[in-house]
């Protein structure tokens, strides 16, 4: 189990993604606090797919870098895309009446964070966390 792809389209899938991410984070060897950070971040990004793009995919895999183990999670959708990424990454910015902390929060909780978005064709968010 070093790579898994999950199709997401409703709120039960958020729980499923969390469970699989937890299993992989435990297997890689992350401690309790980092597990909580990773799962919380992924919960936010998966919900963003469902709320803002209605469906998409989550790819979870183990990665290595100069002897370090880590986890990489890609959240991809073919939704409306994000017009202004910089704005969407501001604390409190929301187009859905949320708290507007999902994306910035996920960025703070992970070590690496990258968003690519094209209006009209979709959004991909890639996050990584490395073992200390």
């Amino acid at each position: 189990m070093d790579e898994q792809m999950i199709e997401v389209k409703n709120d039960t899938d958020i729980i499923r993604v969390r469970r699989i991410v937890r299993e992989m984070a435990v297997e890689i060897g992350f401690g309790e606090l980092d597990q909580t950070r990773i799962i919380t971040a992924i919960s936010e990004l998966t919900r963003n797919i469902i709320v803002h793009a209605s469906s998409g995919k989550v790819l979870i895999k183990e990665v290595q870098k100069t002897g370090k183990r880590g986890i990489e999670i890609t959240c991809a959708d073919e939704g409306p895309g994000i017009v202004d990424i910089e704005l969407a990454l501001k604390d409190g910015y929301t187009t859905s009446g949320g708290l507007g902390i999902g994306m910035t929060g996920a960025r703070r909780l992970m070590d690496e964070f990258k968003v690519e978005s094209v209006v009209g064709s979709g959004t991909t968010v890639i996050v990584k966390k490395w073992m200390k």
Binding site: D11, T12, I14, I15, R18, R22, E32, L33, Q35, T36, R37, I39, T40, S43, E44, R47, D91, G92, G98, L99, I101, G102, T104, G105, A106, R108, L109
Partner: protein, 118 residues
């Protein structure tokens, strides 16, 4: 999933046992407010000791339950937030938007409710 809402005196006690879907959280919110109204509960304890993850949706829902309960004349205390969950919520950026009373555990939560009514 049916989450039991226990009534002890004037207080309702809700213990979350496992991760809930967004829909289950919404149903639970409604059930709690309904029961406050029906039994005239003056306080509600929501025990989240078993939750290993609280994301912004769950946090927002707890806030909404507490605000709506206040409008009904009842007070909500959330107890049992795990240390890793607390730190993660702060890092997530919740500090600005959390307005719910909290206590370390059930016993301390009940004490808070008792004091409020004294």
């Amino acid at each position: 999933m049916i989450i039991p809402i226990l009534k002890i005196g004037d207080v309702l006690i809700v213990t979350l046992q496992s991760e809930l879907t967004d829909r289950e959280v919404e149903e639970l919110s409604h059930d709690i407010l309904d029961k406050i109204n029906k039994v005239g509960a003056e306080g509600v304890i929501i025990d989240i000791t078993a939750l290993k993850v609280v994301d912004s949706f769950m946090a927002r829902s707890l806030n909404s339950i507490a605000s709506a309960a206040t409008l009904l004349g009842s007070e909500v205390v959330v107890v049992g937030i795990q240390p890793a969950v607390a730190l993660t919520l702060v890092e997530l950026g919740l500090r600005v938007s959390w307005g719910v009373k909290t206590a370390l555990n059930l016993e301390k939560g009940l004490e808070i409710l008792k004091k409020e009514r004294a």
